[in-house]
Symmetry: C2
DNA sequence: ATAGAATTCAAACGAACGTTTGAATGAGCT
DNA sequence: AGCTCATTCAAACGTTCGTTTGAATTCTAT
């Protein structure tokens, strides 16, 4: 390992990715300039264009690097849970599906040293990014995983209209993203937060999400054309 | 009412505010240039600086205009609920506090014609905005209202540790913001959403939030130093 | 040691940004 | 009418942006 001065070697690519990741969280995608990135990485200004082509490509690489890993972990967790449930001749519980989806996120949040935490903050902020290019590849990157998990959720909640499940999943992703990305949002006025301890956030969040998922459905759902029993609620963890 | 060409009169200020509001949602704060704003508003480029001083001041005004109105409605709703509860010698239920806070948001979302919906999308996206200047005035603008509602929530949940309430309120704001701002986030991969009908989102969201709020507390809370009964759950709507 | 490919470097490119300027135009008043 | 003040306008300001260039340097392999 060498200091970031001089011309150490070919880890230039990853140094750029790391620096960009950190700066994107602090200043946003637009708010981070090439010069900020290359200065922080200790490389020449032209290095980004040489190694990645354009700034947009760099952004894409920053997300692909971790998002691939994250969604692989999610799919793997779901596969494991489904295999185990099949072995017992039972279906998956909703809580198991949720855990397969959200636990990898929060494990990555716990990785403060390797930069996983930084990336998860960035990811949470990017879900609402208006930039068309970013939205496009984020959707592509998520498509397969989302499909799998929604299907699993549908099957674990046979009595509940799919539209309601979709909405609640949307709410859950929102709560999670803000919990990760915007800890400082509440921190600003509400005094101190124990965001030192993301390990404690996981159970807090999962409890909240499960409570929301199994809450009674709003009245109009039962009164609507589609027949469905009253306030079907899945069982607990 | 005249077309946006020529030089109609002194509604220049509000035309700029409306145009900026709409463009900020589509392209973000940084992604929207002065030239885009003035072109959309049909005014001269220098008009923004003449009427507002700087771009940052314009941003501030865009938020103040609606956020003042929104938080006033929230406080008023809470006052009303508290007065009514005092008349009955009872305390507020958590669901009543939540409704006082979130209903004005969703009423504003329902205002598609007056631009309220546009603004609420913008607001949801801005909670995670890294821009320091934006974060600062957003916190100032929210400080008083947040204080009031957190206090009311604490009193409505006497058995629950305040830290847990704070976290859950954080989760709730996250779910709400995403529900409003990022409808297209899920839309991108999950097919069609009925975002035509925000009136139906309110009951869906409230059900979800209440379910999350009254979910059993995570285990470590009860096992922790602070004494508190098991899984205190507030009553329903 | 030396040719050739890969990488780094300082410098510059045109484009777009927020802001400023000073003259032109409008309405309101005496 | 003439004067005043607020507003609008076209044009330009200096700065920063992402990207490109071509020479200098380093690495790899013969």
């Amino acid at each position: 390992m060498s200091t970031h001065s001089g011309k150490p070697g070919p880890e230039t690519r990853s140094r750029i990715l790391d620096a960009a990741e950190a700066l994107f969280v602090q200043h946003g995608l637009d708010g981070t300039s090439m010069r900020m990135i290359t200065a922080a990485a200790g490389v020449n200004l032209a290095a980004v264009n040489y190694h990645f082509g354009t700034k947009d490509s760099l952004i894409h690489e920053v997300f692909k690097r971790r998002l691939g890993e994250l969604n692989q972990a999610r799919i793997a967790a779901l596969d494991r849970a489904e295999a185990q449930a099949r072995g017992q001749g039972a279906g998956l519980k909703p809580s198991q599906v949720l855990e397969a989806f959200f636990t990898p996120s929060l494990e990555m949040v716990a990785d403060t040293a390797g930069g996983g935490r930084t990336f998860m903050q960035l990811l949470g902020r990017t879900y609402t990014e208006p930039n068309a290019f970013v939205r496009k590849f984020l959707a592509e990157e998520y498509a397969e995983t989302l499909q799998r998990f929604l299907q699993a959720l549908y099957e674990s909640l046979p009595g509940v209209p799919r539209e309601e499940i979709l909405w609640r999943f949307h709410f859950m992703m929102g709560a999670t993203s803000y919990a990760i990305a915007g800890t400082d949002a509440l921190q600003l006025f509400a005094g101190h937060f124990d965001d030192e301890d993301p390990a404690r956030m996981l159970p807090r969040l999962i409890s909240f999400l499960l409570g929301g998922l199994r809450a009674p459905l709003p009245d109009f759902v039962n009164a609507a054309p589609r027949p469905s029993r009253t306030a079907r609620t899945p069982d607990a963890t």
